[in-house]
Amino acid sequence: MLKNYLKIAIAVLRRRKFFTFISLFGISFTLTILMVLTAFIDKVIGDNYPDKKRDRLLYINRIEQKGKDDMTSGPLSYYFLSHYTGMMKTPVKVAISSGFSGTNTYVNNKKIAVNYKYTNADYWDVMDYDFTEGKPFNKQQVDNADHVAIISEDMKKQYFGDAGPVVGKYIEADNVNYRVLGVVKNVPLTSYMFFSDIYLPYTVSKADYKGKGYGGGYMGVLMGASKDDVPKMQAEYENLMKRVPVESKNYQHLYSHANTFVRSYVDTGNEDSSGVFIVITAISIFVFIFMLLPTLNLVNINITRIMERSSEIGVRKAFGASSQTLVYQFIVENLILTLLGGIIGTLLSAIALCGINSVNPIANLQLSINFTVLFIALLVCLVFGFLSGVYPAWRMSKLNVVTALKG
């Protein structure tokens, strides 16, 4: 049965090549754009370099204090993080690091912009950076406030050029000389929690990290012993935060959460507006409006085609075909068309992704097609095919046999 439908479908497609072209054009381009968007989101959220142990990790990015008229929200101080996470029993290790900031260095009459980040020793155990050379600094070097640094591959190329191994050499940044201990693979800017050009021990920070205020420039990552410990860790941190007093009379409430990766990535910093909700709503609205036009278009074209074939339908009905059979046949034909469009769309998006990668708008962000993307593409195709086929099929089944035969 299916083979017959396939044959009929291909015959119909070849009959009116222009209509076929329009439908395929619409489907394939919609699919290409959706796939590029999916690849982008997947890379930004799915790429788990350097936090490869993501399913055992929780991220603490913000502390918010709220009063009747006042509100303050921002990253935490080193003191707050180390003091309170030190009290917790569930985490095995806690990584504490600052957000990245910019400075300059001038070498060979050339200016290099350097992004730097302060970390503690456990940061390198919790994260899994790929070291192309050397190794990270350890607890003793942090305690001694040694002037050592881990640099990224890009930084190595910019500062040292194409020299060989640079471990042991000195790099000057922020007017201070640091000894290079290791070189790590680049992190794209979209992983803003872990991105930097050089990583330094927090003890060499020029800012006062010992201050007992709650706000500062640091964020923490809690590592549990296993995936099952994550809910326990989250609850423990929540309970701990309930007991922390507010800093001044202007505030009544204090909020700080240990979140999973996706939640912390889109965190708006405001307790009342959930970042995840905003992002998902925005993306859904965009996708809906974007898919609305091509779907309407396909519905129109399909109705036109059916009207064209009204004599054929009339003959089949006269011979006793039920409406259900005809509807079924038509939807299958439509699905074949959309799947064909899907294949073309996949090819086009592969070309588009290659093009985007070569332009390299965001450094070190290589987009690729993986199974998630393909799966979403297939899903979109099927949804398209179904949506654009249902209404015309229903219209067709209502055709009066006599009117259809008359033409």
Partner: protein, 345 residues
């Protein structure tokens, strides 16, 4: 003639309904994209408000810590003299963190003569700010040394704020402040609004306060105007001077031209993406409509043949068909405009 056409369209209302819906949605999409482009273009046409070429900004992460205001002032005056003495430095000014093209925001609100003004930018700068930035002074003057002692608190406002508060009247000499404020500020000058969010986004109203002796405690940026040939070697020297003087601070030097490029990035990229996407959508719809209309017309061969046989000219037939489509399009446009007018934000 029109009544006849309307009747024809009404006869095929179900089919035409779909066509009209498609045209309606594409019209809304195109309208949204064009509104955005017009908004960007409007902002682009406005003057920048200052000369940003050859202006660098020095970010100081930790200000000098001392409780004594006098030693604080002495420290920063010495720093200013040292920098000014460098050969390629023309002028400099200490400023608050919200320099042009930065992401720092320092805003408040104002209720003046019953009108509520939101997102009002607060800037703090020194007397030398005018020379450093090459400001466009529209009315009155910028600050000078004589303003150190004054009966009123003085303020310089920008053109956007002046329009929002005083309209077309001259603002110099008038008092500005919240309606319930007993100590209003006196306006001594109006300057051109600085497009601090880049070429394409609105800057919003702002007013400028004069830095006083205690301000050095929290002013953490320095704007420096350098001579046009200043290169990386000179920048390195400036950097070393700053870092050597402020040993407990991280120093970063940025060029305003680069910061402007980054700020514009945020406006240009979404616009490019939206244009590409809507272009594709419109082509799609156009092709679809083309196909559907072609088929419909083909079906009416009998009717057209009959009209020609009776004696209608070719032009008359084609104009009738074109008019039918135009009416459909116009109806969609009217409905679309109506919807947009009701939902305008």
């Amino acid at each position: 003639m029109f009544k006849h056409l309307f009747k024809l369209i009404w006869n095929k209302k179900k089919q035409n309904f779909l066509l009209m819906t498609e045209m309606l949605v594409s019209f809304m999409v195109l309208f949204a994209v064009f509104t955005l482009m017009v908004y960007y273009y409007d902002n682009y046409k406005k003057p920048m408000g200052f000369k940003y070429q050859d202006v660098w900004v020095i970010n100081i992460s930790n200000s000098y810590q001392t409780k004594n205001t006098d030693s604080l002032d002495l420290y920063y005056e010495t720093l200013r003299k040292t920098i000014k003495a460098l050969p390629q430095v023309k002028e400099l000014s200490f400023v608050s963190g919200n320099v042009p093209f930065s992401k720092r925001i320092n805003q408040s609100g104002l209720t003046f003569k019953g009108k509520h003004i939101d997102h009002l930018n607060n800037f703090t700068a020194e007397d030398s700010y005018k020379e450093t930035m090459n400001l466009g002074v529209l009315e009155g003057r910028w600050y000078n040394k004589s303003d150190a002692v004054s009966k009123y608190k003085l303020v310089v406002i920008d053109a956007d704020l002046k329009e929002a508060t005083f309209g077309k009247e001259p603002a110099v000499g008038k008092l500005l402040g919240n309606d319930d404020d007993k100590n209003k500020m006196k306006v001594i000058g109006v300057i051109q609004t600085i497009k601090r969010n880049g070429d394409y986004m609105t800057a919003g109203p702002g007013f400028y306060f004069r830095a006083d002796t205690g301000s050095f405690r929290w002013l953490d940026k320095i704007l420096v105007r350098v001579s046009p040939g200043a290169d990386a070697a000179f920048e390195g020297k400036l950097y070393k001077t700053m870092a050597g003087y402020m040993k407990n601070s991280n120093i970063e030097i940025e060029h305003l031209t680069n910061k402007l490029k980054d700020a514009n990035y945020f406006a240009v990229i979404p616009m490019i993406v939206l244009s590409i996407v809507s272009c594709f959508l419109v082509i799609n719809v156009a092709l679809g409509l083309f196909g559907v209309l072609w088929y419909n017309i083909n079906k009416r061969k009998g009717e057209i043949g009959l009209r020609r046989a009776i004696g209608a000219s070719g032009n008359s037939v084609s104009s009738q068909l074109v008019m039918e489509s135009m009416i459909l399009a116009t109806l969609s446009l009217i409905i679309g405009s109506f919807l947009l007018y009701n939902f305008r934000c």
